[in-house]
Symmetry: D2
Subunit: 396 residues, 4 copies
């Protein structure tokens, strides 16, 4: 079972030959009990086969059981997702499922959500260090000229990754390259990392000055919200949009579309003032719950939660509502998508496996829009109730 110390450092039990077994997981739980006094009884109860976890986790000792609530149906009229969907939401936050469910009903009864994957780019962004800005500029021109060779080097490392274009950004003697790929059904961070390493090695070997590089100059911007993500997309740029009937909104949500639009002006001004990553309500909630349920890399919520809401009050009083997610990083294959419970959740959406990533992206965006309508209305319905008597709307 081999725990413990080399050089005085206690070591977590690990079997180099066969570490993904129930016994090894048990040994690690025993180790935890020994060192912390905590019995991991529930953590040790799982149905996933440890042998399937190689490549997903190291030092496996059990599972977190995250409760899943069911919401839906949600009617989606997308390019890839079409029909009524039931959504698994893994969360420990009370009311989340109920609130999204309410929004799904509104959207479905309004005729459903239109969804569109507008574009798709996954990146790795190395930086090359030249001797000065002039050489850096000329290096950039050289990269443009050798784009086909660079693409060949990159794509030789992957079956599904395709290099779309190389963005270039200059600071002093530095030339940041941002290699943009399509990555099939995978989120693609690893795939693009490997391909970009090959691209960089080719560049370094072939450029006359054999410039030094760092594989990431931190403008990728992996696992970090950024303005470049919002502008230039990371993962999928997906739009969900719906036109909400004025009467239906009033009946289901208790608010007028005029009030929603009035409040929208105030919330947009606030979002702009404080430098928010999202001028809407709470995209992170729905995305996180879907990501946990379906085996996405949940840390991507840091990037995926960015959003731009754009709405218009139509002359007939109906409400056009769109949300654009510029950095929705998702997969229908690879990563955690194939694990026991995660795969089932993708399957119930008809999204497991090859060819389904855009369908899944569209469903994510539709779910987000449902949550926006529900929370935004709830905030105002409360206000309405408490302040209905002084509502003189001729005052700004």
């Amino acid at each position: 079972m081999a725990d413990t110390s080399t050089n005085g450092r206690v070591r977590i039990p690990r079997d180099k030959a066969d570490d993904y077994t129930r016994d090894q997981a048990g040994a690690r739980r025993a180790f935890v009990r020994e060192h912390t006094g905590t019995e991991l009884s529930h953590v040790g109860q799982y149905s996933v086969d440890p042998a399937t976890l190689a490549g997903n986790v190291e030092n496996f000792l059990g599972v977190a059981q995250v409760p899943i609530g069911l919401a839906g149906p949600l009617r989606i009229n997308g390019e890839h997702a079409s029909g009524d969907f039931y959504i698994p939401l893994a969360t420990t936050e009370g009311t989340l499922v109920a609130s999204y469910n309410r929004g799904m009903r509104l959207l479905s009864e309004s005729g459903g959500v239109r969804t569109t994957v507008v574009e798709e780019h996954m990146q790795r962004a190395p930086v090359f260090v030249l001797s000065d800005a002039l050489e850096a500029r000329e290096f950039g021109a050289w990269v443009d000229e050798h784009c086909d060779d660079i693409r060949s080097a990159a794509e030789a490392t992957t079956r599904s990754g395709k290099l779309s274009y190389i963005g270039q950004y200059s600071i002093g003697p530095l030339r940041y390259l941002r290699l943009n790929y399509t990555t099939g059904d995978a989120a693609g961070q690893n795939m693009t990392g490997k391909a970009t390493l090959a691209a960089c090695e080719w560049i370094q070997a072939n450029h006359p000055s054999h410039p030094r590089y760092i594989l990431s100059g931190n403008i990728d911007t992996d696992k970090k919200h950024s303005r470049i993500n919002m502008l230039l997309t990371r993962g999928n740029r997906v739009v969900a949009e719906a036109t909400l009937d004025k009467g239906l909104l009033k009946r289901l949500m208790g608010v007028d579309t005029e009030t929603l639009f009035w409040a929208r002006q105030i919330q947009m001004a606030g979002s702009f003032l404080v430098g928010s990553a999202n001028n809407g309500a709470h995209a992170a909630n729905g995305l996180t719950a879907m990501f946990i349920a379906t085996g996405q890399d949940v840390a991507n919520v840091s990037e995926a939660h960015a959003a731009i809401s754009y709405t218009q009050l139509l002359p007939n009083g109906d409400y056009y509502w769109s949300i654009t997610l510029p950095a929705l990083i998702v997969a229908s294959y690879g990563g955690g998508t194939g694990l026991a419970t995660q795969r089932e959740c993708l399957e119930m959406l008809g999204c497991y496996g090859s060819g389904n990533v855009h369908k899944f992206a569209e469903i994510c965006a539709a779910v987000v829009l449902a949550g926006e309508t529900s929370l935004s209305s709830a905030v105002l319905a409360g206000d309405w109730v408490s302040s209905h008597d002084q509502l003189g709307r001729n005052r700004p």
Copy 2:
């Protein structure tokens, strides 16, 4: 049991009298099978008692089993966390546990991580709508004058929430108030929401013009990264810092501290250029894995992943490394922290229950720093290997 359509809308089975049972969960899985054809076999296997899930999820049908890997020990010399810790990381991303583990070894062998909770603020930010900017300014002065009354109204709704101060921000006729609270061992979003509603109602009732308000003007900025979070803190502002021995870093990580610092300049420039929420490497990875394992509101990763790295190369060649997390929203009590597996994971850290939230926050920050050292070094060691021969550091 399985009711269905009203007005043609299919309805998810729900028992208003007693919905948190294995039977009801099973009924919903059957409903999913009927409507999607998917058998939720693994999702239906769990040890958590459904009766404990009221307040955490609606329409419960089973669980996501998220594998947990073990990392550590991590030596922490904090105010609240002190000693060697073993860290549960729930993730499906291969190498994550191994990489953090490597960083923990480096930090521990360097003498450990110092951790400090610098300040603590949880907010709800309503907006009051006045007739013009002048009235809004005077309203703001009135709020300042009546701060004690407003505090009384807010604090009457909660045992553990305390109103620290009210920030005020003006746009046109709008006065955004940002009520800052300490919230004990809870993350506090709900607590502050309820308290702030009471505060707003008091204000509206007592201010001579009985101004209209919206409970959130979107500058809270709940579940959204923002610049105001970075400046003014949301949740805990926590710092982890360590001084890394030059020789040790070279031996364990394969990089020189000079190279790390050289690269740091480049990565900071890149982060600044692209408007990143974090000028470090990948705080979101470690935080997400800890959040899932310990029952945090994982959607808070959208805010919590923001970070500022600050480092110095010391005259003796050692490397001072700090990371500041300005929006680490965590709880040791309430929310999902008391669920079956989640509680066990908090217990193994000695962080379950009352009085432990700052200890947990410190551990989170220390884990993040471990991940920073590991990934940053890995990026450069690769570079070093491939390019060791042309490393003329007299070139910028």
Copy 3:
């Protein structure tokens, strides 16, 4: 006259005893002619007395003649500015004066602009370097406790500067202090620099660890747009607001208020997407022209041009329009305000000298609003003309 080289370096003529004379200016123009071949004929023609320029410029050789156009009247109903104003705009950009003039007519005929100085803060932001984050936090508490002493030290250096509050911001072992002052009729950068130096010296001498500091940690953020400026104000936070009659707007500007509001949604979404400092049209144009004319520190346009537009379409079809300038740094006294032409331009606004800075700030904001209405309408009137036939506004 023209001394020259020491150590081979050619030196610009300079008379240490009496350098602010027409002769010395002429000597320098001769020096320019000698070294560049350029005859500075027009530059040498000025009415300002060189003797008045000490403290405003070094190595004076003549003037830039910047043409001033006249706009107005602009009716302002402010706290400090009240009545009809004629505005001097120094610019070389054709149509600027005409466009602002058009906006002034619209605003005046709509009843005038309400203006309000909401708050006023000028800053200098030193950073203290402590040994770690814990010491930095405790240092921060010490600063709070000794605020009165620090204020005394700071205010001893100035007659008109008053220390309002000290904001504190932590990164690792660093404690950035942002000392906020009111500065009377001066913009106050120099005054606050001197006062803050005294404050820092007092802190360093009296704090037990005598911590090292840098007088600016770059969060002031002098001569640089920043998010902290938008949130926490730099100089004056000023609002200009007006309610525009629907019929008048259509008659004078050729656009419907509905169209303006529809377009506003699109422009706000765009501004948010690209991370703009200003979600309005072109505040910088009017401010720059006024700043040059009136002897402001024109480099402050970098900060002053930030703005938040907030509008509402009222139920009766009229249009409420506000613009909030969070960083309007201006002076009515000191700096360049007393120079020959600059003083005349301030005088024609009734803003020269003591007690007039808020009046001037209000006029600036009103001028900005005039420019917003004019340009925003022009953009749309063009569109309207070219596309009037396909304008189906039921489409988003």
Copy 4:
């Protein structure tokens, strides 16, 4: 002569036939005297011929006399600017000229400044409004396919403007196009506006759905700092860089390069924290003074002051310093460059007229770098003096 009221509105005197005369200027000054009581004596003294001001200003009544100080020589080793330059700085801020002059000496004695124009893009950014996101995406593809036709339409309106590429950015049903041009020796805002109008009209006429558009969707982002400017350049992206001798810096500036670099880490962290447009010191100061002197559109300082400083401490103790200006919008021809004093100032730099815009851009960047070195050193030299005894640099 002063005509006046129509509909009760007092009107500024204006002669439609011949308004650009000394008499008309005098009439307007008389009008000002009549309405404000202010005698514009100095404003009325100028040598510029009013007849040359058509196209630069309306309602001309005189000039602002802005004092010019002389700095230099500044040695520049650029692609376009090469040699020793004397710089005219129009300012009313004391010490500005002296401080820049000091930096110029340092840079010149260090061997001079390398300058590089990295890229050049001027934009106008219309937005097209489609019926939904899917149609917007397809519209985008159509634009790509018809890029040559669009270019032809745009370029037919201008001799010197060339359309480089069309960036596309999606929000909901909106397709923002950002047309990037090179504009010869002009700043190009008007040129690109006219060309883009033609492009839009062509698109609207030829696209099957004849979509509505707005000529600016506010992502240009004219006269406003923005993140998109920093990333994708507006005007010229120019780098100035120098390697500063350790001993020389100590002798001239009184600081060690190690101290400069230590402080740089702190200032970069601060700049990142507060969301600054510029992580350096005060680019706006030098740029504004040059812009006023040389007839640039000074309002562009709002955009031009953005900068990214990137530095490295070299192993031998010398200091590599670069500054990158991503949005330096300048002209050597057109606008105010041909006016009396402005042209002389451009001529003394050898930058007046066709073919000189990149030379002028390089000089601007070099001047900025001079100011950075001077102010950054001054801040620290002060600190050094006051705190020289406790400077234990082994503490972070």
